[in-house]
């Protein structure tokens, strides 16, 4: 029997890996994948908590989070395409027209 906190620690690790990816990668698409990693970490936490509280709510939440992730992915990738059209690059460092 694996204690619940193991799952939670795993979710924390995955979440931080997502944060790392978001903070340091230069490719917009990978940045975006990092956000997916973070969302998955949350899902894992939800399922673990659902198991903990013997409540199915947690599982239903995961379902909704996936819907949101899908919606974000669709819009996000479309925006990325639009960026690519205007700049011919996906390097996030180049997206810095607007600054003080």
């Amino acid at each position: 029997m694996v204690p619940i906190s193991y799952y939670l620690v795993l979710s924390a690790i995955l979440f931080s890996l997502g944060v790392v990816g978001f903070l340091i990668k230069r490719n917009l698409i990978t940045l975006f994948m990092s956000i997916e990693l973070m969302l998955n970490a949350v899902n894992l936490a939800f399922v673990a908590f659902a198991w903990q509280w013997k409540s199915l709510n947690g599982q239903v939440f995961v379902f909704f989070v996936m819907v949101v992730a899908a919606a974000e992915a669709a819009v996000g990738l479309a925006i990325i395409i639009a960026v690519f059209r205007t700049r011919e690059t996906l390097n996030v460092d180049r997206v810095n027209l607007l600054k003080l």
């Binding site: 978001f22 949350v42 936490a45 709510n57 974000e72 925006i79 997206v95 027209l97 607007l98």
Partner: protein
């Protein structure tokens, strides 16, 4: 069982969705080169219908859909505010879209859909529903920010908003997960029961911090404000008018619910610090801006700070102060951005402070209108901004937040300087050559401006009724 009254309790959402869908269907039928004004009118009617639905709904308070949404004075207040803002933004967009030659009816559709999300945020009492509603409003604003497709800056603002927004959302969601883990529920009123009954574990505190991140991002509170100036600068001006007000109002509603209805502990110092930081950073940064949209962006950060002061004040007086401030701030800011969007003209060329030189003589009415909004943002009496600030400060003082009040008063004294710069430029400087041409204000924009001016003055002179309503909502919330 679901009854008819359940549907009444989500009536504004239903109305807005139906109109949004209708717009999307008519959009397909319109020839590609035609102006999208008819869709705009349809959207305007939709927002009016939503206002009517809100008023109707006010007679049917209570929970609906198995405890998912709750209609009370609190949510009615925000429903009304958000629908009103949406109406104003729609009105001020007609001219803008024509000037920018944007022929996408989706624009209006997205405004309405976004409004659904925001309205729902303010009445939802279940964190996952709040999250979905938040996403609806976010996604539609991400896209709206990038609507000026010819301008790289607009797309850039869209992608920045999108990336940082999703990042912040992930934190919010993690916070929801943690609170679910700690209390076993995501229903705000059940969370409240659990928290009040039991001990406060570290997980609850962390959850509050994480949710504050997500909401703090939306309301542009320091240190989660960093996206604001860039995004506001690049996004189309009427959209900025929308996203600097309506989603903020909705996010404040959520924050109020989380802090006070769910009675989560330990938010005080983070809010205190965030308020002080937002005010100070926002105002100081605004002092050195040359771009009007950036300047207003920093000003909106500072205003988020004042609002958080009201949060820190807590109790029902703090909550009603926050609600009132939200309304006053939203109205004056929408108005200011409506003027900016009119003046920016095709391609958003005229957005530096220099461009406003001499506006007082070339277009006196427009300048006078902007002056009223700016005076309200400064907090000069008989405008809504004055009383809102006054009320927030006295609420804070009543909670003995002496230092925060001192910081806030000093900040509002500093803030006068940069708003005044615009007024000085408009009235006391000659226009540079060649002077930017100012088109005549079109009828819909005129109506929008008149409404916002009237509302701003109304809130300053006769705030009693609105305040009453807000305090009733606040009382319900803390109960």
């Amino acid at each position: 069982m679901i009854q008819a009254v359940d549907y009444i309790r989500v009536l504004p959402e239903i109305v807005l969705t139906l109109f949004g869908v209708a717009i999307m269907m008519v959009e397909g039928a319109l020839p590609p080169r035609a102006s999208r004004k008819p869709l705009g009118w349809l959207a305007f009617v939709g927002t009016l219908a939503a206002l009517a639905a809100t008023v109707y709904q006010a007679g049917y308070p209570g929970m609906a859909f198995f405890g998912m949404v709750r209609v009370d004075s609190f949510s009615i207040f925000f429903h009304f505010l958000i629908a009103f803002i949406a109406a104003l933004v729609v009105l001020s967009s007609f001219e803008y879209l024509d000037a920018q030659q944007i022929r996408g009816g989706e624009y209006y559709g997205l405004i309405l859909f976004g409004a659904v999300g925001m309205v729902l945020m303010s009445s939802a009492v279940e964190l996952v529903l709040i999250f979905i509603a938040l996403e609806i409003s976010s996604i539609s604003t991400y896209v709206l920010a990038g609507f000026r497709r010819r301008a790289p800056s607009s797309i850039e603002s869209s992608i920045k908003y999108f990336l940082l927004g999703s990042f912040a959302t992930a934190f919010f969601l993690y916070g929801v997960a943690l609170i679910f883990g700690a209390t076993g529920s995501t229903r705000i009123y059940m969370i409240a029961e659990t928290i009040q009954g039991g001990k406060h574990s570290a997980m609850v505190f962390t959850a509050v911090a994480l949710m504050f991140v997500g909401i703090g991002f939306k309301i542009a509170a320091a240190p989660f404000h960093v996206w604001t100036p860039d995004v506001y600068e690049g996004a189309p001006a009427p959209v900025v008018g929308l996203m600097s007000t309506a989603p903020k109002a909705a996010a404040f509603a959520v924050l109020l619910r989380i802090f006070f209805a769910a009675a989560t502990p330990g938010w005080f110092w983070p809010v205190w610090i965030s308020a002080a930081l937002s005010m100070t950073l926002g105002n100081i940064s605004a002092l050195v801006q040359d771009n009007v949209k950036r300047l207003l962006a920093y000003s909106s950060i500072a205003h988020a700070g004042y609002l958080l002061v009201a949060f820190a004040a807590a109790r029902d007086i703090g909550i009603s102060a926050a609600m009132f401030y939200t309304a006053a701030y939203a109205l004056m800011n929408v108005g200011a951005f409506a003027v900016v969007s009119h003046f920016a003209s095709a391609g958003e060329r005229y957005v530096t402070l220099e461009d406003y030189a001499g506006l007082g003589r070339r277009s006196p009415v427009l300048a006078a209108t902007l002056t009223i909004f700016l005076l309200s943002l400064i907090g000069i009496p008989i405008t809504g901004g004055f009383f809102a600030k006054f009320y927030v400060f006295s609420a804070a003082l009543k909670s003995n937040l002496v230092w925060l009040v001192i910081i806030a008063v000093v900040n509002s004294a500093i803030a006068a300087y940069y708003y005044l710069r615009i007024i000085v430029l408009m009235y006391m400087r000659d226009a540079r050559e060649p002077a930017p041409t100012v088109q005549n204000v079109s009828a819909p924009l005129g109506v929008a401006l008149a409404l916002t001016v009237a509302a701003t003055i109304y809130l300053g002179v006769l705030p009693g009724r609105v305040l009453d309503y807000a305090s009733r909502g606040a009382a319900l919330l803390v109960r």
